[in-house]
Symmetry: C2
């Protein structure tokens, strides 16, 4: 039986926790045994239970004061799931947690962009040196299986360029501006009311989130040494209702498009005119990724980009890969 330690219990952590419990039967049939969450560590404390931590993680009696690293040593889980909030500046505390697990030979799965964005080479090198699995499908484009699509579905067909809409909040705002002729501020306020945008929306609307995902994709899929700062970045604050309406009349939508090309190594996130109805013109809070390949043209995949449950499915698919590979190696 695989014993998991989760760090972070926000929307993704909770959704992942519930998914493991609700789908235990199916996971048992897939893996032989359903994995069990034996520890949850969050800001308010640590819950350890070899019989399985309840989804609320609120059994106060059992709360312990343990840091993630202390819990890793105490629990020695089979897999560590890092889901603490992303810090795009420092990558902490995710980086410290991931390093600690890898150094102890514990496989790591994360949906936390920060550590990958800031410490990609350090962490992937450490994982390789230790011969330990390290997967992070949930860091890019939410539920869309971009990294696994590249790894498992396109071997032998190199990707030469990536274009995509990687931030659902911006896409929602731009869609609503077009549909209802709203100004940016009105559409943003609506997105905030609905919980699609944060009180401080700058990570989304200034393109930081999309640029972070693009930098991770550029490294992982194209092998390019592109940092966050290398991504030319322009947000959507300056887009006016009249610009959108003008574009619409000419048959275009305005979308915040992230692009990186293996040949010229240019990476950018910027508002672009996209032909209406073309594959990149997805509406609402959807995400889309277009992978241009050497041998078979472009593949375009769209799906829900954000959401706790959607990202939790990406974490779960990584977990299944880790456990299957470990089973094969035994």
């Amino acid at each position: 039986m695989s014993r998991l330690l989760i760090a972070g219990h926000g929307s993704v952590g909770k959704a992942f926790h519930e998914l493991l419990l609700s789908d235990a039967t199916q996971l048992k049939s897939l893996l032989g045994e359903a994995p069990r969450i034996v520890a949850v560590v969050r800001r308010s404390g640590a819950w350890l239970d070899e019989a399985g931590v309840g989804p609320g993680a609120t059994l106060l009696a059992k709360r312990q004061s343990l840091s993630v690293v202390e819990a890793l040593d105490k629990v020695r889980p089979d897999v560590f799931i890092e889901l603490t909030p992303s810090n795009l500046q420092t990558g902490e505390p995710g980086r410290t947690h991931i390093r600690a697990a890898l150094e102890r030979g514990i496989p790591v799965i994360t949906a936390n962009k920060g550590p990958l964005l800031r410490h990609y080479d350090e962490l992937t090198t450490l994982a390789r040196e230790k011969g330990v699995a390290f997967r992070y499908e949930g860091t890019v484009a939410g539920s869309i299986p971009t990294l696994n699509l590249h790894e498992y579905c396109l071997p032998g067909n190199p990707v030469t360029r990536i274009d995509g809409i990687l931030n659902g909040t911006c896409n929602y705002i731009l869609t609503r501006m077009a549909e209802e002729a709203l100004g940016f501020d009105e559409a943003l306020a609506e997105a905030q009311e609905l919980g699609y945008a944060e009180a401080d929306p700058s990570a989304d609307v200034d393109g930081h989130d999309a640029a972070a995902k693009l930098a991770i994709l550029a490294k992982h899929v194209l092998g390019l040494p592109i940092s966050f700062e290398d991504v030319r970045r322009e947000g959507i604050r300056a887009i006016s209702a009249s610009a959108i309406s003008l574009a619409r009349k000419e048959g275009y939508s305005i979308r915040l498009v992230a692009s990186v090309d293996a040949a010229n190594k240019n990476a950018s996130v910027a508002p672009r005119l996209v032909p209406r109805g073309s594959s990149l013109d997805v509406g609402g809070s959807l995400n889309v990724v277009r992978l241009t390949t050497k041998h078979a043209g472009a593949f375009t995949i769209s799906g829900k980009g954000a959401g706790g449950k959607e990202t939790a499915t990406a974490v779960l698919s990584d977990l299944i890969h880790v456990l299957r590979d470990a089973g094969r190696a035994r």
Copy 2:
């Protein structure tokens, strides 16, 4: 070094052969050693060469009169690649070839729909009993990695419904009818001139090809016991230019949509109204597959559905999986 035997050397076989030769360096870096085609069997004869058969397979001096089964016994390849023409009625001769290889413990990869459509249970059961790999990504939706997407990217997130445009010829005809206000016969003639449609177009325009792919997807992805005959099928011959123009005015495209639902087990291929610009509304000869999942909504993936080179990339990705799995098992 992995030794391959290819049966069939039409557009997919030739493209696969050329791909292996042109990408030998890359395959070597992926797999440790580039696989080598040591035998090609086609209607006009067999070419065997342990040093590697040339891409033309036209070295008359070396031609031998061997059937595929005889060649399998003589060559004993590490992997057998079945690319003979599809017969949707009988599945032969592909079925006989695949059976012969599996019975000899030789892994099989095919892009030939017929054997899967007519003998799915027999062949997959035989492969399982023998513990031999049997992969067929190239049988559905050309280059789009539908089966591998399901297997490797969505584990733990069951697919509940599949919708798609699985026949590029019909989509090309419908697109041209809409763009140029052509009648069906004119658009078909154009597609035939360009090589998108066969002289006898019925497999495409009457929906047989799409229904065959849908039946394979229903079995493989949804586990439904749906045969070709269970698919309610209607082609596009009766679609008029005026129907398309009327639909267009109301904001719709007419597309030949294949759908199967796990809950009600209904499978159909029929012309449908699709909102213009929606994810299923792809143009030209593209294919698209939408997988609706239990936990993360729908994923839609589009790409080139047909073409020798595109389908060859699907065969190559299957080959890489077979060789990697074999390498891990050693």
